[in-house]
Amino acid sequence: MASDVQPKPVKRKPMEWFNLKGKRAGFWAYVVMRLSAVGLVLYLFLHLVILSQLAMGASQWDNFVAMAKSPAFLLLDVILIIGILAHGLNGIRLSLIGFGIGVPSHKLMLWLAVILTVVFSIVSALAIFSEVK
């Protein structure tokens, strides 16, 4: 009988990430976690491919650096930072909860993660665009 009450691991196929009807804040956090994860993995691959230009010498890389300082590129950097902050801050929250730390205040931590993501994103965006001359 005891085995009947054991929690079953939740398995959701990607299409179910977008079924937000009647879902609570925790599910939204889950969706943000998954979507930012996919984005960050794609970015990681792109980043590693772009770094291969370093093997092609100084002029190749320095051309890329000049391009990377264009406003359009910096906007992508800001999007990347928003993704990193949302994923990282919520990840810290999930790790704490997973190890049994601060479980009663999981909701407070969720909103803290949201607020810190917004604040740090704005600070980063200002810092990044202050470099544009």
Binding site: K11, K13, A55, A58, D62, K69, I84, G88, G98
Partner: protein, 123 residues
Amino acid sequence: MVEKQLTRERASSWSWILQAFTGVMLVVLLGLHMVVQHFVVEGGLRNYEQVVQYLSNPFVFLLEIAFLIVVTWHALLGVRAIILDLGLKPATERKVTAFLSIVGVVIVAYGVWLSATIVSQGA
């Protein structure tokens, strides 16, 4: 049957703990990476000469490789979690794990090769 299920449950909690552990390490390693590659650099991005000079420091070299290993591990564990949520057969799941492990080794090997090439090319 029960035993097999237990083994699988244990395996999935292992990957979760590893994911949390590498995640916490990433907060430190990615933080360091952002500071040294962008915040302390004039203009926010190192030019070729600065990259070579910086990566020639053995401590920095090892730190960036450590970062690459941890971030690759974390990323591929995440990809694995998404794929395993599809509800595959255990044999297919093992193939997915094996394939992603190979991908991880290839990525890290590429990173070591690239870093070593940059340093040996010099400025």
